[in-house]
Symmetry: C2
Subunit: 803 residues, 2 copies
């Protein structure tokens, strides 16, 4: 903030500002209604009206009001401000304002700043082949869709972290404050450091109504609202009314006061004068829904009521009175005072918009790829677990990853563009080596015995997956990098946020002007097979099923079976863009299979034969393929191979390990998919495949149903049997353990069932003995717990051309 706040608002400049607002309102209404006659050069006729009237008016005048006032302070104080529009369905307003300031025509030159451009601007809105009805990736200046309400404020904070010069104005409205994620987001101020981060200026827009009801907060009195937001750590400034000019004066004064308060907080914090969490300003804007629109339609109240939410006058094409009402409404903005006869905004109004990158539609933070810097990554091989022989070394995969992430934090500490998110689980997920490089960010008071809490920490922990996800999205969308570790079962809490982010990425990739942003990287750990201690509520591996519904060019799913493969995969994911990478890996100490060199070869292919693990005789096709994806399924598969090899030494077993789940899909469906030829060379065309999979078994069928050998694929995985028990009992309950796998091999290999009936019975007896043992001793049988892969040599044979 270059100037101190001295800017006084005079009647004349507020009059101009009011006209600017009217211009935005006029363009908003035009987008909803008009095909043609954009300047109302002639009386409105039916042919000028769109056949389908789509859009949301109610929130829009308020959004426009805020935009115009932000323009004023940006110019006056040369501020760096972006605008997060919570009620993103007010898309016409965001489009109108970025058009008025000139950004829109720069990005979309076809929509010029003249009458023809206006006509196209109106026509394209919510029109086939045009633009969406909501603020969306297509909208300049937007990092936030807002179709699914709830995430505006958490996105705002994500944008503000590590951007000390940035002010993120965030409008929350139309009922969004009732949602859970938004209600929790207010506490984000406990994680924002005024010395290092930018500021968030929440503008709670209480226009009173949502689709068909009053809003809860809209009907609360000022005293409750003040208490609530003081409780959240804010000082609310109220702007209330419906008469435009007094409202302009009140809003200008409130904004001046809020910005002065922000300036003071930041100056004190950066000057070392303040250490406690400040009380940040916010604005509570009470204005009528559908402000300046028709007061009544067909005798029913519209302005200031929920009927203004979408299209206030609905029968414009068929009802001449409605057509007249629309024309009166549009002319009430006096377009002739706003645009010249060629359709250009008049110069004195153009002068109200900020210029160049100070325009909120052109601010590079809203097209984060422009600002993105490459992450500096350490050599992942330096963190290799030394695996001389498979299965002989024990390590905790996530613990090793923690050391790698620690160095990522160190290497990018100066750039300040990498954060780790986790719902209070970074240490629990054994990534605690990161605390050698940084701390958890914490703005509340600390006690002498606190551990790894600091105002400048880069690990963000809060018991809300919504906040972790939303902060990270906002951080990535503004050009930074991050990593989110989460309990596997509870990542479902953010299913819907994942959906929306995947949609955002899909559309953004189709827009040439949107630059690539860093991928959203999930580590799902404390997974289903190692939640034996927390029980059934913590056991759900279904997030991957959701992920694989999304566009193939967006999503990746990895199941590294040990530490070295996890290191390779994590390093790979941190180098990618515009994707959502899901890594599923356990945190418990367990056997390590591949040296780093073998891990790299294996992961690069994504899938491969583990020749050292199989008992294959290279001269003939295997009798059976034992496939596995996931650390625990890999362990159980190898233990089953060990059992079978000892009992049936002539059985020809091939072991295939899958790291990159997408290799299973047909190449036509996913860029990582194996060709049918490569798939068949791994899985054969006719041998039984016993597939031990980490999650719900149906997913493997869904990915492979078109493959030649699919009828012979028998998949085992989590079948929703869980409780608090031992680790091995968990796999037994779901039939994924070594004995069940070995039994199925015996049953599926032609001719083997008879010959190996005794052996099979032995496995059944082992299961009975196990059940008895765990219920008596409360822990797994030593022969299971202490099982070690027999000494051998390592290495993987990659798929012929997967990857």
């Amino acid at each position: 903030m270059k100037a101190t706040i001295e800017q006084r608002t005079t009647a004349s400049n507020l009059d101009l500002l009011d006209r600017y607002w009217r211009a935005a309102n006029y363009l908003s209404v035009g987008q909803i209604y008009l095909l043609d006659n954009p300047l109302l050069g002639e009386p409105l006729r039916k042919e000028h009206i769109k056949p389908r009237l789509l859009g949301h008016w109610g929130t829009t005048p308020g959004l426009n009001f805020v935009y115009a006032h932000l323009n004023r302070v940006i110019r006056a104080l040369d501020l760096n401000v972006i605008y997060i529009c919570g009620p993103g369905h007010g898309g016409p307003g965001m489009v109108a304002n970025t058009y008025l300031e000139g950004t829109y025509s720069e990005i979309y030159p076809d929509i010029g700043r003249d009458a023809d451009g206006l006509r196209k601007l109106f026509r394209q809105f919510s029109f086939p082949g045009g633009i969406p009805s909501h603020a969306a990736p297509e909208t300049p200046g937007s990092i936030h869709e807002g179709g699914e309400l709830g995430y505006s404020l958490v996105h705002a904070y994500g944008a503000a972290f590590d951007n000390p010069d940035l002010i993120v104005a965030c409008v929350v409205g139309d009922g969004e404050a009732e949602t859970g994620p938004l209600a929790a987001s207010w506490h984000s101020n406990k994680f924002l450091n005024p010395a290092r981060d930018g500021a968030v200026l929440p503008i709670l827009h209480l226009n009173g109504y949502k689709i068909a009801n009053p809003t809860v907060l809209g009907r609360m009195g000022d005293e409750e609202i003040r208490n609530l937001f003081r409780g959240y750590g804010h000082e609310p400034l109220f702007v209330e009314g419906d008469d435009p000019m007094p409202m302009h004066r009140a809003m200008a004064a409130a904004l001046d006061e809020a910005l002065a308060a922000i300036h003071k907080i930041q100056t004190e914090a950066r000057g070392g004068k303040r250490s406690e969490r400040p009380r940040w300003p916010m604005i509570v804007l009470r204005s009528p829904k559908g402000w300046t629109g028709p007061k009544e339609v067909d005798g029913l109240k519209v302005e200031g009521f929920w009927r203004a939410h979408q299209v206030p006058i609905a029968q414009v094409r068929d009802n001449p009175a409605h057509l007249r009402l629309l024309e009166d409404w549009m002319r009430s903005y006096h377009p002739e005072d706003l645009f010249d006869k060629d359709g250009a905004l008049i110069p004195e109004l153009q002068a109200l918009a900020p210029t160049a990158n100070r325009r909120m539609g052109a601010n590079p933070h809203t097209n984060g790829g422009l600002l993105k810097r490459e992450l500096r990554l350490p050599d992942y091989r330096a963190f290799a677990v030394d695996v001389k022989n498979p299965g002989q070394t024990v390590a905790a995969a996530t613990h090793e990853l923690g050391k790698y992430l620690r160095d990522v934090l160190k290497l990018n500490a100066d750039a300040g563009n990498f954060r780790i998110m986790g719902p209070d689980e970074t240490a629990s997920n054994r990534l605690d080596a990161v605390f050698e490089a940084t701390d958890r960010v914490w703005m509340e008071p600390t006690e002498p015995y606190d551990v790894h809490l600091a105002q400048d920490g880069r690990v963000m922990e809060v018991l809300s997956e919504h906040l972790c996800q939303g902060w990270l999205e906002g951080y990535l969308l503004t050009g930074r990098h991050g990593f989110f570790s989460c309990y596997e079962a509870f990542v479902h809490i953010v299913d819907s946020m994942f959906n929306q982010h995947a949609k955002w990425l899909k559309v953004s990739r189709q827009l040439s002007w949107r630059r690539s942003i860093a991928s959203l990287n999930y580590l799902l750990t404390s997974h289903v097979w190692r939640q034996d201690h927390n029980g059934f509520s913590h056991q759900d591996p279904g997030f991957v099923d959701l992920v694989t519904n999304k566009k193939a060019d967006i999503v990746r799913v990895y199941f590294p079976p040990d530490a070295n493969t996890l290191l390779w995969v994590a390093d790979h994911c941190l180098r990618t863009y515009d994707r959502i990478n899901v890594i599923v890996a356990g945190k418990q100490p367990s056997a390590q299979w591949l040296s780093m060199q073998d891990a790299a070869t294996h992961c690069d292919a994504g899938i491969g034969i583990w020749t050292w693990a199989g008992t294959e005789d290279a001269t003939r096709e295997p009798d059976v393929v034992m496939a596995c994806a996931g650390d625990v399924p890999t362990l159980e598969t190898l233990a089953a191979v060990d059992l079978l090899h000892k009992a049936l030494p002539d059985l020809n077993i091939r072991v295939v390990n899958v790291v990159d789940l997408m290799t299973l899909q047909p190449r036509q469906q996913h860029p990582h998919g194996l060709s049918d030829r490569d798939f068949d060379s791994l899985f054969t065309r006719d041998r039984p495949v016993i597939f031990a999979y980490h999650g719900y078994p149906y997913l493997i069928h869904r990915l492979t149903y078109g493959r030649a050998n699919h009828d012979n694929m028998h998949v085992r995985g989590f079948v929703e049997e869980g409780t608090t028990t031992t680790p091995f009992d968990m796999v037994v309950l779901n039939g994924l353990d070594r004995y069940h796998l070995a039994i199925e091999v015996i049953e599926r290999v032609p001719g083997l069932a008879t010959r190996a009936a005794q052996i099979k019975q032995g496995y059944r007896n082992a299961l009975i003995a196990h059940a008895r043992y765990v219920r008596e001793h409360g822990e797994d049988m030593p022969e299971v717990r202490d099982w070690v892969w027999p000494n051998g040599t390592g290495g993987a044979t990659p798929a012929k051309s997967g990857g």
Copy 2:
């Protein structure tokens, strides 16, 4: 509340209460640690200690403190109270208290009230074959798992609605208040009517820490906490400290005050003296995490810190100093003063527990099936849309359903046991006929122009799917009935709540003492194919994929293709128990296919051939099967049949319509699954099947991969292509429209492609014409929009034995 509050707490009865608390704490520690020696009759030895120490101590003493104090007021005032334990991982406390009051031994007679019972009680906890570590369905008095934090308070409100005599004490702790759903749940008080509903008494347990961090609210000062909760509409009463006896006095006083306030509020409201929303009391309990546990272990702070969260002393079996520390800790409770030598709680402590159903573990509201009354349902046939010939009548399916639901509301108005939930969308989803029978519940001020808002409304609308879902869960779990209508895309917001409820039902069904509760019924409408106006963010049909991962005996998914089938399905769902029923149906006016009689036959089978729609010659196998599930896919399939029949009159097409998606699964996997024989008789064993499906096409492959004809199944559905456009353009973008379907028929029927090359080209041309038309006119081509199924006769041939 029979008595006014006069109960004074004397030093002597608080001393007894303290001993009761110590008994609960002792039993909690015993469960975490001990295999044997439950009364410490001999010095603790390694053999007495469990091999795996699982459980959460930190929250438990606070939970026990609250339980003991609630016992006091229940007895003193003969109150009807249930206890919702937000930090459900404090399972040992809930088990301990229900054991102390005698409930536990009544439900599980094997766990007697003697030394042997104590030994078993300790041993079974978190032990294979025993009970889970968290409060769970197995726990008497629980309706709330609490493994996934966030839903305690919303469950509490669900339980309180329509239970005027009930007080729901709800402990929120261990960081749960940081979650989004919980943060929004406080606003539930705007929907609780003190004249009709019970009371919720929130107890915010600020013990300062979650797993590895301070909690956000725990570090906020009293002033911010007071502001925050006054803002939420509560009056917080603070109980703070760590010295037991002053804390007992403070807690007793706070509870007395809170209950007096509740009594006053209810009395005034029920006497007609109060109409505005009251400020409800709540308690803020600040006590040390792991209170009364070891202060330090190995020189590190434990009591009053996050290290007390789980098992405070970890090396008890191997470290004699730890063993000694545990013994000292347990003896600090003086078990010899609490239990007699046979292990029974001494009589003066037994006397502190309420009796019979007043015991919180035995309160029938926590085993809602005990209180459940059958819903009175109108005859769904009375709401039939008159369909003389298929396709000739137009109706909006959900609009018709609204009339049925209106009468359900009327018939059960006196019983007061049916509610409808929806996130501000009941009218938008065209269920508005329900407002002829009731209103939306609304406790905030109303304006003269408000519509259908009332303090005693039975429709609950709030812009939070979390609240809708959670209220309904709490309502169902306490023995009532309900219906939740939701935008299809945004039901993903509650994916994780759905998961947890499904898990709860699965376990409950295995417990003979838990009685069946009403099913959770979802209507997903405003679905993917009719969100053309809101765009991509509103288009996601993936919830069903999540649902089908759950246990077959819990979940059902229905795709009624028109109004009469929707009526049948909704009526059916409202009659079921212990299930989660998902109904997907559109709200837009569209063609009706089946008379009510045909609808009943068809829905009863769940799947069937629509002979009137096909062009089958009964003397031979069809050339192609066109299958459809969902209203829009059914429409497009029939339009494709119409196209093909006109162009290729000798083509033998069978139409199969799927209402009950579970019929597609093998019978071994789902009770509704068709036998292979029945499946083959519908889908043939070798003819091409062109399957038009409502959602992601992979799901159909997953359900049918094992069927004989699977290799010939070609499924079309939503492939994640969406935007704001026209309805027909939406299906075209995803290749689900009539032309793409007809083209695929031509390509898949052997020999047809050559013969019908011209026809196929005609369909391609139609798609090009469509694209041009919508981009020019902004609406669908009249020939598509106005297409009507040619006149014929209706009726469906059901599957041979599906159902």
